[in-house]
Subunit: 126 residues, 2 copies
DNA sequence: ATTGTAATTGCAACTGTTTTGCATTAAATT
DNA sequence: AATTTAATGCAAAACAGTTGCAATTACAAT
């Protein structure tokens, strides 16, 4: 796999993330693109886009993988680490621009912190 | 289901949590008790103990459910909310006695915060 | 433009995890 | 001891994600 090919399906998923401002669960993506591509293709494309630093993933409250576009990441490193918010009413999931301060724990070296916030989103509050 | 029965299997799982100081993944529990009870029984007992406020659950880094005993919870509410730590080397998972400060987000009401810390545990550091 | 190549896809089968329906067992009440 | 019904075991189903392989297709070379 020396060259990387910009196939029709890769383009579709890329374009989706270009304009989508929230995060989306992998099953919703499978559903959304079920006419355009096979579900294994989606999983493979998401893996690839994540490797390339174009999207990042995290686990939602249900344990399902969610994806959102990255800001300044590349295939070397994901610098875009932040909490995520999930609305328990409408299911909306999004990235939160907020720096997680990793607490120091005695005798341990904490390398990563994953923070998932749940509650009611702006839309659902009214 | 008016009465609640203290069966042999419920007693076994309860006793396990009485003495186990860490958190444990559901599949490890299935494995550990595979001679004593059926898989579905474990899942049902864990649901029940969680309802009763005797154990609490959270998702590990792999998205799999983990369980640990509760301190001061009951069937009305789980007051025992805290971060968890998972060692990426040995897989050990434990509760972290540390108060999560829930960040206020504009236009949203954040009700819950789930924080998972990953890194190297005391045992694995030496 | 045509051809050669290998990266990518579709498909169907498979793996791993959790849930479910139902007949059977056994804990608690009488 | 008999009765009641909560809890269990089992096997099948549901669900999410992965894999092997043949067919397709992007794209570099000609
Ligand atoms: Mn994000
Ligand atoms: Mn805990
Ligand atoms: Zn909402
Ligand atoms: Zn360790």
């Amino acid at each position: 796999m020396g060259v990387v090919r910009t196939t029709k399906t890769v383009r579709l998923v890329t374009q989706f993330f270009d304009t989508y401002e929230h995060a989306i669960g992998v099953l919703d993506l499978v559903e959304k693109f079920k006419e355009e591509m096979n579900r294994s293709t989606i999983y493979r494309i998401l893996d690839r886009l994540e490797d390339e630093g174009k999207v990042h993933s995290f686990l939602g409250a249900n344990g399902l993988k969610h994806y959102a576009k990255c800001k300044d990441c590349n295939h070397k490193e994901h610098v875009d680490v932040h909490p995520h918010f999930q609305c328990t009413n409408c299911g909306m999931v999004e990235c939160v621009a907020y720096e997680i301060k990793i607490p120091a724990l005695p005798d341990k070296s904490v390398e990563q912190a994953q923070l998932l916030l749940t509650g009611i989103c702006a839309n659902c509050k009214d």
